[in-house]
């Protein structure tokens, strides 16, 4: 079997899109706050909170829609808690973001054990998986069918979210205010707009998106909750929007790149590449890409 045909097969591209969904939601969430002038390094923690809370709500109601809504609502609450620190009290973003990460991990692990009495991972038949969509005609087209058909509903939601955010950010008043809040809040304030309010609105949308990214992991990609199952995706999402310079379109492509590397690394294991080494690749690529980005930016600023 040829290595390259396996690595660059339709199945790899389908896997890329599945890997991209959570990254895209979370990275878009990061784009919004970044553009509003808030750097949240707590994406990982928030994502985990969404992942767990949605899974739990799904378990208790056996309804995947309730699961999604719960994940979004709970993540928004925690995003607002973060906002309370950085917008209201103006405490240090990095400290508050780190707190979100630590709290997200500890809280979900604690709740998993106290609510369900299990350690490590948990699954139950009461939990409903978010359905996949089989595309009528397209599914029979060779490569395209494998790649696009059978993707989760949330995959299509994430594409819609990208388009909506591009429209919102560059066409609507709210988008203008969010960008102005990030670039020069004094300009916005002197135009009589409440900067804090704009930032809170951005944080609410931020929480909704990250909640979607989290719930996709536990009831979409898998139907199982695993402790710390975000496994660094929040940080990769950060890298993606940094690479995408916090522009939604560029971030979309950055996410595809990172997702592709993730899909590729899991395939490499088939060929005897040690799994820990393969797992490291996406992160190593992330560092490399960020180094290149900052170098380019540095050079540009010097001109």
């Amino acid at each position: 079997m040829n290595v390259l045909t396996v690595l660059f097969s339709a199945a790899t591209f389908a896997a890329t899109l599945r890997m991209a969904v959570p990254l895209l939601f979370v990275a878009l969430g990061g784009v919004l706050t970044k553009r509003a002038g808030i750097e949240n390094i707590g994406l990982e923690g928030l994502m985990l909170i969404g992942c767990f809370s949605g899974f739990a709500a799904n378990y208790f109601t056996s309804n995947w829609i309730v699961g999604i809504l719960a994940a979004m609502a709970v993540t928004v609450l925690f995003a607002l808690l973060f906002g309370l620190f950085v917008v209201q009290i103006r405490s240090h973003e990095i400290v508050a973001g780190t707190a979100m990460n630590v709290m997200g991990s500890a809280l979900t692990t604690y709740l998993l054990r106290s609510m369900f009495g299990v350690k490590g991972s948990f699954t139950d038949e009461r939990v409903r998986t978010i359905p996949n969509i089989s595309l009528p005609v397209i599914k029979d087209i060779p490569v395209l069918g494998t790649v696009l058909s059978g993707q989760s509903i949330l995959f299509w939601v994430s594409l819609a979210a990208t388009a909506i955010i591009i429209f919102m950010l560059y066409r609507t008043k709210l988008g203008f205010y969010i960008r102005a809040a990030g670039e020069n809040e004094k300009a916005l304030a002197s135009a009589g707009v409440n900067v804090k309010k704009v930032r809170y609105i951005a944080l609410i949308m931020h929480g909704m998106l990250i909640g979607l990214g989290g719930i996709y992991l536990s009831t979409g990609y898998l139907t199982q909750y695993v402790e710390d199952m975000t496994a660094g995706r929040g940080f990769i999402a950060m890298a993606a929007y940094a690479f995408g310079m916090a522009r939604p379109g560029r971030t979309f492509f950055a996410v595809l790149l990172f997702a592709f590397v993730q899909a590729l690394s899991s395939r490499l294991q088939i060929f005897g590449v040690p799994s820990y080494f393969a797992d490291m690749i996406p992160y190593a690529i992330t560092i490399l890409v960020l180094a290149v980005t900052s170098y380019r930016e540095m050079k540009r600023e010097r001109v």
């Binding site: 429209f167 609507t172 008043k173 203008f176 960008r179 300009a187 916005l188 002197s190 135009a191």
Partner: protein, 518 residues
């Protein structure tokens, strides 16, 4: 004058910040439709007064009338409603937005799906630009515009809010001469359209070029309002700078020796790549105090930074005691030059550090003050005690934090340290800034003592009295160039003022403008 309409009347305005009285009983009136300049040195209270008019500060006492109506200027929003606009020195613009988007920020109208009505925004911006004669491309991204054009966007923003009275705070500080001329053109046109313009500045040439009336502030007080046609540079300079304070000449002894510090045709740019030093050349000799005199912001900061190594020079060389130090790092240059910074509290001191540590800072990495890898505390301790005695620094021991000392004693720490490095070159920036007469006197005595002992002293000063009290030779800096070399005995303060404000230049000086008066 009774038939005249005043757009702005400020009566008996007082404003105190703690013990500092920034404005004292200021009376200030602006005719409708005129260009009125407020001039004065830094710290004269110009910006405070305008912030009061714009509602950003509340006066301690006094009255404000706009178009004859008495008002309480409670906030900038109130001022904007009353038709006052302010263009700050630091622009409040969003770089990635277009000109029109910046002008309309906060006032956009929304259409389908909440989308901003772009056509409407650009139509409005175009209209506004045409009406006011401020030519600008509404589609241009503000981040790509020159500073002059950005300022134009700020003015348009103010006009878009309906400003009839426009305050500009040091508008030419960031502009090139050509951009300044364009701005004046715009201001004249706006004034012809009936808008009232208030211009804060300390550049007399500009005032004479554009203003109808001029109000001079000095140390928080009004020194009078003059009609442009009935005054001249000299009168304004004299009013701005004030008369001689209590400086009595100190005795100078000894003779001038060889050149210890040689600055040869240095050119330097600031972070935004503006040329701030142009072909600056001078020598400072042993036993000489050379003063760089000039109005603030004409390259003095950059000159000091270039000499000490904070700012790389683009061309030219700096030689100290015969060694080329142009490329040396800051630490190595300090073996040649001592430096008493203008802002002694922040640049000169570590306020949280002890008196001892502050007094030995810089010595600590010289081998003779160390024992192997460690500082020789027995030796530095003796040195510190002797300095505390010699300079009469009032402190409760050398171990306490510098911040617990009085301001005057903190100053003495910096002076004591810098004057005892054993270097032959001393750079002193604005020694009398922010200190009372007694402390000024003390620092001046020390400078003269160093001079008499054969040190080469470079003094940076904006204060005419100080310049005359200390200098052996005066070099006037204007817009980054040395525009005159003068002897304190052969020049009058008025004449020096003309050089400092760019109204007069020496022969052979590379400059673009003709002298305005002679």
């Amino acid at each position: 004058m009774s038939e005249n309409i005043y757009a702005v009347e400020m009566e008996d305005i007082c404003k105190s910040f703690g013990a500092v009285r920034a404005n004292r009983n200021i009376n200030f009136r602006v005719l409708k439709g005129e260009i009125h300049a407020i001039v004065g040195e830094n710290g004269a209270g110009k910006t405070t007064l305008m912030n009061i008019l714009f509602g950003a500060l509340q006066p301690t006492s006094g009255r404000i009338r706009i178009n004859g109506q008495e008002v309480t200027m409670s906030s900038p929003n109130k001022a904007i409603r009353l038709g006052i606009g302010m263009v700050h020195q630091h622009f409040e613009l969003v770089p990635s937005f277009t000109v029109a988007e910046n002008i309309m920020l906060g006032h956009e109208s929304a259409g389908k799906f909440g989308a901003v009505d772009k056509a409407e925004i650009y139509r409005h911006a175009k209209e506004l630009a045409e009406e006011s004669g401020l030519k600008i491309d509404p589609y241009a991204k503000v981040g790509t515009l020159s500073v002059g054009l950005r300022q134009r966007v700020e003015i348009l923003k103010a006009l878009s809010c309906g400003a009839q009275i426009l305050i500009l705070d040091e508008p030419t500080a960031v502009l090139t001469p050509n951009e300044s001329d364009e701005l004046f053109e715009v201001l004249r046109r706006m004034s012809a359209q009936g808008k009232t313009i208030i211009l804060i500045t300390h550049k007399l040439k500009e005032v004479m070029a554009v203003a109808d009336h001029i109000t001079v502030l000095r140390q928080g007080e009004t020194c009078g309002t003059l009609e442009k046609a009935k005054t001249n540079h000299m009168e304004l300079a004299a009013l701005m700078m004030g008369k001689s304070a209590a400086f009595s000449p100190l005795e100078k002894t000894g003779t001038t020796g060889e050149a210890l510090l040689r600055v040869d045709h240095i050119t330097a740019r600031d972070s935004s790549r503006l040329e701030k030093l142009k072909n600056v050349t001078f020598d400072v000799h042993a036993g000489q105090i050379l003063t760089i005199a000039g109005v603030e912001g004409n390259g003095q900061t950059e000159l000091v930074s270039a000499l000490l190594g904070f700012l790389p020079v683009a061309s030219g060389s700096i030689t100290a005691l015969g060694t080329d130090i142009t490329k040396l790092p800051v630490k190595d240059r300090r073996n040649y030059c001592s430096y008493i910074p203008e802002d002694r509290m922040t640049t000169g001191l570590d306020l949280a550090g002890s008196v001892h540590d502050n007094l030995i800072a810089g010595l600590h990495n010289r081998p003779e003050w160390r024992k192997g890898a460690f500082i020789d505390y027995a030796k530095t301790g003796r040195h510190v005690d002797s300095l505390i005695d010699a300079y009469a620094i009032k402190t409760d021991g050398s171990g306490i934090a510098a911040s617990s000392l009085s301001g005057g004693n903190q100053q003495k720490i910096v002076v004591a340290r810098e004057m005892n490095f054993g270097t032959k070159i001393l750079i002193v920036s604005q020694p009398s800034r922010g200190v009372d007469i007694g402390a000024t006197r003390f620092i001046h005595e020390q400078i003269i003592r160093m001079r008499n002992e054969g040190c080469a002293i470079l003094l940076i000063s904006t204060d005419l009295d100080e310049v005359f009290a200390l200098s052996d030779e005066i070099k006037v800096i204007f817009e980054g160039s040395i525009v005159g070399t003068l002897s304190p005995d052969a020049v009058t303060p008025q004449e020096l003022g003309l050089y400092m404000t760019g109204a007069k230049k020496m022969e052979g000086v590379s400059g673009t403008q003709e002298g305005g008066a002679a």
